[in-house]
């Protein structure tokens, strides 16, 4: 065959199967023809080579954009407008809005309303006047006029209807048109983008991105009040008309009852309670939805229209009021819509990421020492600067192992660490431990210079810290000693990550056991922007010349809380009680009250359980501006002044919200405690169902004890006990009773799913870690709980407050394999 024929066959071989003869001919020819060999080679590699064009092509939502554009074109055609294909996305919204307006107003044209340009005054069903402008002629006559203002009629129609004459309010957010009327919902509900930029310091891009997310999620919903106009443009004509009419009608409603005046002085009140109080005071039905009921607010105001109070709530919290019911008896519900929730989640995520980055930066300080052995680091510390010396001393001791491990983590291990998993490493790899990198083994053992090993291989080794009287050889002199270390990322307070590292050794004990010792230290702390100073003075610089903020004031909050040391937690032996958590304290609500008294201004602020030393949040003889800035910085809040109100918002509100325990729950537990004199198991189980963020927050514990008398808080705050309480939450009442009886509860009698839960959540926290299903058959569980009656009535023989035990055995010959007593106190230690 000729070269040309062969080359055609080579090409065809990519598109069809060649016959055996053709294949042979091609094979033979290609072996001797360089050009055809190149063609064959090139042709075979094309599919793979062109994959770069398809790789990583991101979705541009081109279809969505095209459909939006086409829809607006279709709408234009419907209205007789010439197509404007060159005008794209930016115009789509306006075009859609114009179309929707037109669809709404068109019926009125058919009904013979006055021609365009004739201002009309129509009385709304609620007695308010609205301004309208109708177009001349039929529906086709409007759009054909060049430069016809398509949007204004819609804007006019929706900007109704609050005017001073009708008892409504001027919309202050539109200063250029102070008399432009505004509907209730527009007035009381703020703009979410503005909210995010003010309180969350999100960039416009972030806001726009979130809005897009939110829009996408709600776009296809049936609630047209929430649906933005551009999306409506893609609906059929009838639906659009109905939707916009409903929207317009809603926007135009004025509820004259909202002009009723209220005077408030509420401190840290839940919105559910506030709404109840306002309903009582005004006769208007207000309620807080599930998304907002437990949020707490502080308000001090005198004789303010309810409408203004409602508006301020949305300004500070980013929530929105929803109206339902009939004219004259409307109900209002405060809710946080999905868009706002997404925005908050985004703030939280950004904050968390920045804290992690800050932590990683902290850890980078160790990097330059990574090549040093513990001895070398110790020697270098002797001649180092004071700052470096501290770091080197830490590194040369307990920190050597964890610091080196941190920089050796695989990506999946780093992810696990960041998601809260404790990573343990040892050569023995028991109980879920990971393999200790061999190159770190020697260094970690060397770094344990304050540990001594006694005993022999035959009798078993023992390890002890020198401070506890440890004697014997250094670990590096014992060949059987093996290194162990662990890393964990503590997120006790939201917005702050602490990387903890532990290191130690393990040696063979008696009867094949293992004796070990390890000690930990914090390696680094990463703080998010939310826990840093908000620098209010510069953020509010434009308000510095505001006359109302120039007055000299004394702000002296009166403390409302007296903190006492937790009676169930003894002071750490290495630390003296510095009184950090005892004494008189003021809450943020106390501060707001002092600001209100000093300035006479209306104040609204969020409330989260935090306690401040009064002197640190007071000021004397400063201008209100300076005092507010100084105190707000110390409290980590941002302040602002708008519409005559002082507004304050926690810089980390998106994190604080997660930590705050609802007042209704605290109240119910406090009531139960008052009845019985102590908290029972049922209440503790209920308390343990709170989120970890709530139970881990130190301030929440202080508040629960100091403000509600819940001294048992530690029993659920304690991480080990919490797992048990939560596990008990999955048991029936009968099972709980059996668990607390002398015979205990057989694990086999539980449903498999509950058994699995026990093995997954409880066992790993005990000495039984590593035991599985089979090992635990015939196990018996017990709970002994002795309520910590404070102060003096604890049983004289009480050795613990709560003790969970798990008996593992076979055929009734069980022995106590493990006794879990994570919380043991003698009676004398209970004050």
């Amino acid at each position: 065959m000729s070269c040309q024929r062969i080359s055609r066959l080579i090409s065809q071989s990519q598109d069809r199967s060649l016959s055996v003869e053709e294949q042979r001919a091609v094979r033979e020819h290609v072996a001797s023809c360089e050009d055809c060999h190149r063609l064959s080679d090139t042709s075979a590699g094309l599919a793979a080579g062109f994959q770069y064009l398809a790789a990583g092509v991101p979705s541009k939502r081109l279809a969505e954009r095209a459909v939006t554009r086409w829809t607006s074109e279709a709408a234009s055609r419907q209205m007789g407008r010439p197509n404007r294909p060159a005008v794209w996305m930016g115009v789509a919204v306006a075009a859609a809005a114009a179309m929707t307006l037109f669809l709404v107003t068109r019926p009125t044209l058919r009904e013979g309303r006055p021609p365009r340009g004739t201002a009309t005054a129509s009385l709304s069903p609620h007695g308010a006047k609205g301004l309208g402008a109708n177009a001349p002629g039929g529906q086709n006559s409007i759009p054909r006029r060049p430069n016809h203002p398509a949007v204004p009629p819609l804007v006019h129609s929706l900007r109704s209807l609050h005017t001073p004459e009708t008892g409504g309010h001027v919309h202050e957010a539109v200063p250029s048109a102070p008399n432009r009327p505004v509907g209730d919902m527009k007035y009381v509900n703020g703009d979410l983008a503005q909210f995010a930029q003010r309180w969350g310091r999100l960039t416009p891009d972030d806001t726009a991105s979130l809005q897009r997310q939110g829009d996408k999620l709600v776009r296809r919903g049936d609630d047209f009040v929430l649906v933005p106009f551009p999306a409506l443009a893609s609906r059929d004509e009838r639906s659009v008309r109905a939707a916009v009419a409903a929207y317009k009608q809603e926007k135009e409603v004025i509820d004259a009852r909202l002009a009723r005046k209220v005077t408030l002085g509420v401190k840290g009140m839940a919105f559910s309670d506030l709404c109840e109080q306002l309903s009582r005071d005004t006769g208007i039905e207000l309620m807080a939805g599930k998304t907002t009921a437990d949020d707490k607010v502080t308000i001090f105001c005198k004789e303010k229209p309810l409408r203004d109070v409602m508006r301020q709530v949305t300004r500070v919290f980013g929530f929105a009021w929803r109206r339902s019911g009939e004219a004259g008896s409307y109900r209002y519900e405060l809710a946080q819509d999905l868009r706002s929730q997404l925005m908050e989640e985004e703030m939280r995520s950004k904050d968390r990421n920045e804290a992690l980055i800050a932590l990683d930066r902290e850890m980078e300080r160790y990097r330059k020492y990574l090549g040093l052995s513990p001895e070398e680091a110790k020697k270098r510390a002797e001649s180092a600067s004071p700052e470096e010396k501290e770091l080197l001393e830490q590194y040369s001791g307990r920190g050597w192992g964890p610091a080196n491990l941190y920089f050796n983590l695989a990506p999946e291990e780093m992810n696990a660490l960041r998601s809260g998993e404790r990573l343990s490493f040892s050569a023995w790899q028991v109980g879920g431990e990971r393999a200790m990198p061999a190159e770190l083994e020697r260094g970690i053992i060397q770094s344990q210079s304050d540990v001594r090993v006694s005993g022999t291989a035959d009798t078993g080794y023992r390890v002890r810290h020198v401070k506890e009287g440890g004697e014997g050889a250094l670990p590096s002199a014992v060949p059987e000693a093996r290194a162990k270390a662990a890393l964990s990322m503590d997120r006790g307070e939201v917005g702050r990550f602490t990387l903890h590292g532990t290191s130690g050794i393990a040696v063979p004990g008696r009867e094949g056991g293992r004796n070990s010792i390890d000690m930990g230290l914090p390696l680094g702390v990463g703080e998010s922007p939310s826990v840093r100073s908000p620098k209010n003075a510069s953020a509010n610089a434009k308000l510095a010349s505001d006359p109302s903020l120039k007055a000299k004031v004394n702000i002296k909050p009166q403390p409302s809380v007296k903190l006492e040391r937790d009676p169930l937690v003894p002071p750490h032996p290495d630390e003296s009680d510095r009184g950090e958590n005892s004494g008189a304290r003021a809450t943020s609500a106390d501060v707001m009250e002092a600001i209100h008294k000093a300035s006479g201004m209306d104040v609204i602020a969020d409330y989260y359980t935090k306690f401040y030393v009064p002197a640190e949040i007071s000021c004397t003889g400063a201008t209100l501006f300076a005092g507010l800035s100084q105190i707000s910085d110390r409290m980590r809040t941002r302040w602002s002044k708008q519409e005559g109100w002082l507004q304050l918002r926690s810089t980390g509100f998106f994190n604080d919200r997660l930590q705050e325990v609802p007042t209704r729950l605290l109240r119910s537990w406090a009531a139960a405690r008052k009845d019985k004199g102590h908290l029972g198991v049922d209440e503790l189980i209920e308390m343990a169902q709170l989120a970890d963020a709530q139970l881990d927050a130190a301030a929440a514990g202080l508040g629960a004890r100091a403000q509600h008398g819940l001294v048992e808080w530690e029993l659920v705050h304690n991480g080990n006990l919490r797992a048990y309480w939560r596990f008990m939450g999955s048991l029936s009442t009968g099972q709980r009773a059996t668990l607390m009886s002398a015979s205990g509860l057989s694990l086999d009698k539980l449903r498999p799913s509950i058994q699995e839960r026990f093995v997954a959540t409880v066992i790993p926290r005990t000495e039984l870690a590593g035991m599985g299903w089979v090992d635990l058959s015939n196990a018996t569980l017990k709970l002994e709980y002795q309520p910590p009656v404070v102060p003096a009535s604890a049983p004289a023989d009480a050795k613990y407050l709560a003790r969970f035990t798990c008996v593992v055995g076979v055929g009734g010959r069980g022995r106590w394999l493990a006794t879990v007593e994570p919380f043991r106190r003698s009676a004398s230690q209970v004050p």
């Binding site: 050009d35 062109f50 294909p85």
Partner: protein
């Protein structure tokens, strides 16, 4: 097992086809969501095809937008004589080839994604070489070779898309492959000279 596998494939295809038919029906009746889904499923493919023919990602996006708009405007006239996919690809190729004719002098050989790649150098070079090779082809050859090699169109499907006889498709594919082999020969020679 083989039979089961085959049956499953066939069944899936039938399902996919009927789903597209339903989308098509809904889109024709003015359902915007259906339009988005119907068109959106081909977005990645159309973008890569357009980028291959036009050479620039931003032009490709514009071309796909234009393709969608033309498709939407003509959707009412689409009677299902051919598969929707080939119909849509034909529109895309018409757009691209029209633009190539209108903007003949403009030819960008590099891909902006290549320029910003942080990957290993050999990979970058490979991409640059492929982009360069593609740019050496006539637009219609780019179209057919991409349909065949990147999108896996059969000769019959390409014929339907381009409205050419199958013989011509085979001929154009042959010419495209020959041209690419020739480009490679030149590249190799230049490489030797360097």
């Amino acid at each position: 097992l083989l039979g089961t596998e085959t049956w499953r494939t066939v069944n899936d295809r039938a399902g996919a086809g009927s789903q597209e038919d339903a989308l098509l029906k809904a889109a024709r009746s003015g359902d915007a969501a259906a339009m988005e889904r119907l068109l959106g499923q081909y977005e990645t493919g159309l973008l890569s095809l357009s980028k291959g023919v036009l050479g620039r990602a931003e032009d490709a996006e514009d071309a796909v937008q234009e393709t969608y708009l033309r498709a939407l405007r003509s959707l009412g006239g689409f009677r299902g004589g051919s598969a929707f996919k080939t119909w849509l690809y034909r529109i895309a190729l018409n757009v691209c080839l029209e633009w190539k004719r209108a903007r003949r002098p403009v030819e960008t050989l590099t891909d902006e994604r290549v320029q910003t790649m942080n990957g290993p150098a050999p990979d970058v070079l490979s991409r640059m070489r492929m982009a360069s090779a593609l740019a050496s082809l006539m637009p219609r050859h780019r179209a057919v070779i991409l349909l065949r090699e990147l999108h896996g169109f059969s000769v019959a499907e390409i014929a339907e898309t381009m409205r050419w006889p199958q013989n011509r498709v085979q001929n154009e594919l042959y010419k495209a492959r020959k041209a690419l082999a020739e480009w490679r020969r030149r590249e190799d020679q230049e490489g030797e000279r360097i």
